[in-house]
């Protein structure tokens, strides 16, 4: 019997990854959804007995989707697949009715264990005639051989959900250029996984839940860097920067914090009488440390890091980065606005990569 399933994730790369980690011989009919709204539409059409659901998404995120499923009393089994691996995130989704939680990128073994745990599919269950065909999950993700998973992707995303394209255009200012869109999508996804891991470390250390944003990816003029941060030009901030490099993939990780948050942040990391520079370097080593580890894991690299450098303490945001005589024009910029809602703390992580790093990252992700 064919099982209708929905894979809901804003990242194309993540949807493909998820599809690839499904058991080989599971007879499924896959519908892809780019956000919670699309997933709900698909569920209402009966296209998702099982829903693989991401948490951090634009339009309607995973938490809202779970609430909506409950409100509409939709008949589906939800398995959350997320880079947000904070214990609190796990607890929240379970309390909202999700059956289980898989850490991104989903490992095929974990997926099949969970499916068999809940009696959805057991390995060795031969529920289709072409079982035994080893090639039915190819790297391209399309099952040309065997009809065991009919991909309804094109139908649903383009035709059945009328506003899918509109949503896309609003969320992505770069959608004219589809190559770049795919490229940036993959950068966003690996960053997602990385910041999720970093947030989980921070949450463990502080006992506070960290809100995870969708990372903003852009190719920016370096002279505009100060303006990109989500701080106002005159806001007083402090920042620290750490260089990283491996096999030609080179960049800097910046942590920028509003000075008004220092006391709260110091309490949070249990430093009661520390100077602002200490707080800055401590938070930086927690976050950039775990982000670089997680990025390295996904790119199969082990980054060399330089000693952190203080960019400025108590300076206005517009002057933090001295961009007068930079060596380069542009940098791949990934901006992450972390938030700790219970303490009203906001801070920015900027991952800056040299333009030359981009083809090398692409190569590694294509492997």
């Amino acid at each position: 019997m064919t099982t209708p399933i929905v894979i809901c994730d804003d990242s194309n790369m993540a949807r493909k990854q998820m599809k690839r980690s499904l058991p080989n011989h599971w007879d499924v009919d896959i519908t892809f959804a780019e956000n919670g709204e699309e997933a709900i539409v698909a569920l209402e059409k009966g296209l998702g007995k099982v829903l693989f659901l991401d948490l951090t998404m634009p339009v309607m995120d995973g938490y809202e989707t779970l609430q909506m499923i409950r409100k509409k009393d939709l008949d589906t089994m939800v398995i959350v697949v997320s880079g947000d691996i904070q214990a609190e995130a796990h607890r929240r989704v379970i309390s909202l009715g999700a059956m289980d939680f898989i850490k991104k990128p989903a490992a095929p073994d974990t997926v099949s264990n969970i499916l068999s745990l809940f009696g959805i599919h057991r390995d060795g269950d031969s529920d289709n005639e072409t079982a035994g065909d080893p090639d039915n999950e190819t790297a391209a993700g399309h099952d040309s051989n065997g009809d065991n998973s009919k991909v309804a992707e094109a139908d649903l995303v383009v035709n059945d959900i009328d506003n899918a394209d509109n949503i896309d255009n609003k969320a992505e200012p770069i959608s004219e250029n589809s190559h770049q869109e795919i490229q940036f999508d993959s950068y966003r996804e690996i960053t997602n996984v990385a910041i999720g891991r970093a947030a989980s470390v921070l949450a463990e250390l502080t006992g506070e839940f960290v809100n995870l944003p969708v990372p903003k990816v852009s190719l920016l003029n370096i002279c505009d860097l100060n303006k990109t941060m989500h701080f106002a030009a005159k806001e007083i901030v402090s920042g620290v920067c750490q260089g990283f490099t491996s096999q030609g993939i080179t960049g800097e990780a910046l942590l920028v914090l509003n000075d008004a948050n220092f006391t709260d942040m110091a309490q949070l990391i249990k430093h009661d009488n520390s100077t602002s520079i200490e707080v800055l370097t401590d938070v930086s080593s927690i976050l950039t440390g775990s982000i670089l580890n997680a990025l390295g894991d996904q790119l199969l690299l082990n980054f060399s890091r330089s000693c952190p450098v203080v960019l400025g303490v108590g300076v206005s945001a517009e002057n933090l980065i001295n961009n007068q005589s930079t060596l380069r024009q542009k940098s791949l910029t990934i901006e992450v606005n972390y938030e700790i809602p219970s303490r009203a703390i906001k801070f920015d992580i900027l991952l800056l990569f040299t333009e030359e790093s981009m083809p090398l990252i692409d190569q590694r992700l294509a492997q």
Partner: protein
């Protein structure tokens, strides 16, 4: 020394923020740590047993060979400082985007290593990133010059 210790000492040498290269008398590479791999883009497997000057073509061969040779000959450590040769290995600085300097300034130490027979068999090359120090010192020199010029002008006026 315990085997355990050896294991983590290797970990330190691999991951420290300094470059470490070991060569023999024929300049064949026997050690090339993570710092060297990551900054040069040349993997350990690719350079092991290869001639250093063939594998890294933009080294200043004659000058650097002399430095290595004298470490073998003298059996005492040799040094190079950024003022004589600023960039031994042409690596980018740790701040390729917010920084204003393209190449990493380097000091190096060349340490003779003895084999069991007490003969110097290898030389270890330790590369230190001194970009920040170099930039500050150059800035200071420039500022002092400016100041001296002003004083001279004021004196002659």
């Amino acid at each position: 020394m315990k085997l355990d210790n050896l294991y983590w000492i290797m970990g330190i040498l691999q991951n420290m923020a300094n470059g470490l290269v070991v060569v023999d008398r024929e300049y064949r590479v026997h050690m090339w740590n993570k710092f060297m791999e990551n900054h040069s883009g040349i993997a350990l497997e690719a350079i092991t047993d290869a001639n250093l000057f063939t594998a890294v073509p933009n080294l200043e061969e004659q000058w650097f060979k002399q430095k290595i040779d004298s470490a073998f000959l003298l059996d005492s450590p040799g040094y190079t400082i950024w003022e004589e040769r600023p960039h031994i290995f042409k690596f980018e600085t740790a701040r390729p985007i917010t920084g204003h300097i393209k190449y990493m300034y380097q000091n190096s130490t060349l340490m003779p290593l003895k084999a069991v027979d007490a003969e110097v068999s290898h030389v270890a090359i330790l590369i230190n990133d001194v970009t920040a120090i170099a930039v500050n010192k150059m800035g200071l020199i420039k500022a002092n010059q400016k100041l001296a010029n002003r004083v001279n002008q004021a004196g002659s006026a």
